[in-house]
């Protein structure tokens, strides 16, 4: 899917990631690092941007409802960029605000996945 030409997301914008039940660490405090692997279809981490969701009148609860059983965690675009990630708007039909997050080196290391897993906060 081709990214649109809307403005680059601001650093303060939130990025949400859907977390499968088996991606939650045993203590429940954070996702497992493995939850931040790229999808092979597009070589990117699938996330959702709060600015587009808000513009479309959608909430985190709406996002969670679409994928029952998943939990939602969030992190700012600025934090993600500070970890060497590029955030590109990548609209999908199912829900507004979809973004593709890719590592600028072409491949996200284990350390970066672990840092993402520790930096996100549950949004519930």
């Amino acid at each position: 899917m081709t990214a649109d030409t809307s403005p680059v997301p601001a650093d303060h914008c939130l990025l949400y990631r859907l977390i499968r039940p088996d991606w939650v660490a045993p203590d429940g405090n954070r996702p497992k690092s493995q939850a931040f692997s790229d999808h092979p279809a597009d070589g990117a981490l699938s996330m959702f941007l709060s600015d587009e969701m808000e513009a479309a009148g959608k909430t985190v609860a709406d996002l969670a409802k679409l994928w029952p059983g998943y939990r939602v965690c969030g992190i700012t675009v600025g934090q993600v960029r500070a970890l060497g990630q590029q955030v590109v708007r990548d609209p999908i039909e199912e829900f507004p605000g979809h973004a593709a997050v890719r590592d600028l080196t072409g491949r996200r290391s284990g350390g970066t996945r672990a840092k993402l897993a520790k930096a996100v906060k549950w949004c519930e």
Partner: protein, 153 residues
């Protein structure tokens, strides 16, 4: 849905998992009496191994894609760990890779087995970290494993 028969016995020779284990096992020899009680007994796998394999099998049933080779390497690696090693939490990523993590007071160890590379990441409580390819990180990885075993209650 992906169904994978996972190995629980000794690694076969000729695989990268076996090669890594052959390199690692001698390093688990006692480093003095203070750690000797922490070490593995012969070829007995860690007590948590069958439970972890069951978790991976369940996960494999529900994900789009599992890299079977990575899964086998990961399980063989876990099976070769000392019996005193604490239980990891495992997961299968969207890319089909397999991860195993240990997080406790002495640090965070994260191993990834994937089509691209098998990697290791370590972070100590004071923020000192390193990462690299598993096969090139064996001395540091063994140190990390000893730290995790020493921290086990």
């Amino acid at each position: 849905m992906t169904s994978v028969a996972l190995p629980i016995g000794p690694a076969r020779s000729g695989t990268s998992g076996a090669t890594l284990l052959q390199t690692l096992r001698p390093l688990f020899l006692p480093r003095g009496s203070s750690v000797s009680t922490l070490l593995a007994r012969g070829d007995r796998p860690p007590g948590w191994l069958s439970g972890v394999i069951a978790q991976l099998e369940d996960m494999g049933e529900s994900v789009e894609f599992v890299d079977e080779s990575a899964l086998r390497r990961g399980v063989r690696f876990l099976a070769g760990l000392p019996e005193a090693m604490p239980e990891p939490f495992v997961a299968i990523g969207d890319d089909g890779s397999v991860g195993a993590e240990w997080e406790c007071a002495v640090g965070h160890l994260y191993l990834t087995f994937s089509q691209a590379a098998d990697e290791v990441y370590w972070c100590s409580p004071d923020g000192q970290e390193w990462e690299g390819l598993l096969v090139r990180s064996i001395p540091r990885l063994v140190d990390a494993i000893f730290e995790l075993m020493a921290d086990r209650p």
